[in-house]
């Protein structure tokens, strides 16, 4: 009676393989390829340190800036060429990987965006869902 009872297991394998479902991540990896964030939607827990691994597979620099709309408004007109002083604002050089650790105090949706010229318009944005665990 191995048969059809295997199907739920198989579905679980699929879901695990493509990274769907499960607990909010505390050590997620965000990859950048062809100027696109993967995943584009990510769930993390509120009130706990979350260490993000930011892997830039592109031969050009990118930014990962996460925050509320007013933060992004500032960066849309900002002139800082490089970000490395705030954990929520990181410049990732070409073909490199960085880590940054952030604790989110409030639940909610926060956009992460690359604010280098033209990158947001190109679609380089994602959503961070900070949720109660």
């Amino acid at each position: 009676m191995l048969r059809l009872s295997l199907l739920p297991f198989a579905f679980a394998v699929v879901l695990l393989a493509i990274g769907c479902g499960g607990e909010p991540a505390t050590e997620p990896t965000i990859a950048i390829h062809y100027s696109e964030f993967t995943p584009a939607v990510l769930e993390v827990p509120v009130g706990r340190p979350v260490t993000f691994t930011l892997r830039n597979d592109d031969p050009i620099a990118h930014e990962w800036i996460v925050g509320t709309p007013d933060v992004h408004d500032i960066h849309r007109v900002g002139t800082e060429p490089f970000h490395d002083e705030r954990p929520t604002e990181v410049t990732i050089p070409p073909l490199s990987t960085l880590e940054t650790t952030v604790t989110f105090a409030k639940p909610g949706d926060y956009a992460y965006i690359c604010h280098l010229p033209g990158h947001e318009a190109y679609g380089m944005a994602g959503t961070l869902r900070v949720v109660e665990v």
């Binding site: 009676m1 191995l2 048969r3 059809l4 009872s5 699929v14 493509i18 990859a31 070409p94 010229p117």
Partner: protein
């Protein structure tokens, strides 16, 4: 600080052009008059000619004003044997020969990136234009551009890889704005360049024209082809790509072109094709492959319609998901077979 811009343009792209030309031709072109009587073409214009295994590529780089430097990247089908100043009025003469008009049917065909440093194969200075021919993958060419103070647009990683998978040769043309100003060049003036490329696989880069543009931005360009015979082209039908002329080149045109500077290679007889591009940047995802051999077999790889053998093409997540789905199918198949054999035994 250098002006960014390695973003826009490319080949054909960089460009609109301005060249020294006589007043009568200037009037006839009804073009924009630049400094020193130069005439600026209203559209990006390129000549790609293929003769005896050699592709001649003539285009122009437009001075966009300001000081500092700005540049353009052009993918090439092979290593150039020569890069020199282009003919003074070749592109304008071609525009006179074939005014934009109706659409013709295209001739029917029978049918990883490296990370090492880019290798500099050739450098040449033409007026205020510094030209460097590079060999390398997308990342190494991007690194070269970054090292030289340029910022690439967000679509550059994908576009450079698209080209590097087929040919690792790129030409970087960098305008020295200060030198151009000293030479009296004004915005819109251009420098014609003639690139000679021995290759058995001629193609004209078109996708690079959309580099740095938003998907809805328009790309307008004229591409003239001179080939020994009527060429077979690929793609045949694409939105915004129109064959507007396909006929034997007139003797007067060939004689005129041959009399321009550096154009002595123009043959005694040839077939002239003109393609107009009026496309959204998002639709311009291909190049123009040419088969002038008479075999009617332009390469879909050269046209960018299919990836070269041995290149991945699928993103990692898609591969993972595909693998997972395959696993699901295998497990389900196994379960059903087991179930079937149990019930029948």
């Amino acid at each position: 600080m250098r002006r960014l811009l390695f973003t826009t343009i490319g080949v054909v792209a960089a460009l609109v052009m301005a060249v020294q030309v006589g007043p009568s031709l200037a009037h006839a072109c009804a073009g924009l008059i630049g400094s020193n009587g130069a005439v600026n073409l209203g559209r990006t214009t390129t000549l790609a000619a293929y003769e005896d295994g050699v592709e001649h590529y003539v285009t122009a780089f437009q001075f966009q004003g300001g000081g500092g430097e700005f540049g353009t990247l052009i993918p090439l089908p092979g290593v150039p044997s020569n890069v020199e100043r282009g003919g003074a009025w070749t592109l304008q003469r071609l525009q006179l020969e074939v005014p934009s008009s109706e659409r013709l049917e295209l001739a029917s065909a029978g049918f990883s990136a490296l990370t090492a440093d880019a290798e500099v194969l050739l450098t040449v200075r033409i007026d205020a234009l510094d030209i460097t021919v590079l060999r390398g993958g997308g990342p190494s060419v991007a690194a070269w551009a970054t090292d030289h103070g340029f910022r690439l647009s967000p679509d550059a990683p994908e576009v450079l890889e698209f080209y590097a998978e087929r040919s690792p040769i790129f030409l970087a043309a960098v305008f020295d704005g200060d030198a151009a100003a000293e030479r009296g060049q004004v915005i819109g003036d251009g420098t014609p360049v003639h690139i000679t490329i021995p290759t058995e696989n001629p193609w004209v880069p078109l996708r690079i024209l959309a580099l740095g543009k938003q998907p809805d931005d328009r790309v307008e360009a004229d591409v003239f082809l001179l080939t020994a015979e009527r060429p077979a082209l690929l793609p045949l039908y694409k939105p915004g790509l129109t064959l507007v002329h396909s006929d034997a080149a007139t003797q007067s045109l060939l004689d005129d072109l041959r009399s321009d500077d550096g154009m002595g290679w123009v043959p005694e007889s040839a077939w002239l094709s003109k393609l107009q591009i009026d496309s959204s940047a998002g639709d311009l995802s291909y190049d123009l492959a040419i088969d002038a051999s008479g075999l009617s077999a332009p390469s879909p790889v050269a046209a960018g319609l299919v990836a070269p053998l041995g290149t991945a093409g699928l993103p990692e997540t898609a591969t993972l998901a595909g693998g997972a789905i395959l696993l699901l199918v295998l497990i389900s198949s196994l379960a059903l077979r087991r179930s079937s054999s149990t019930s029948t035994s």
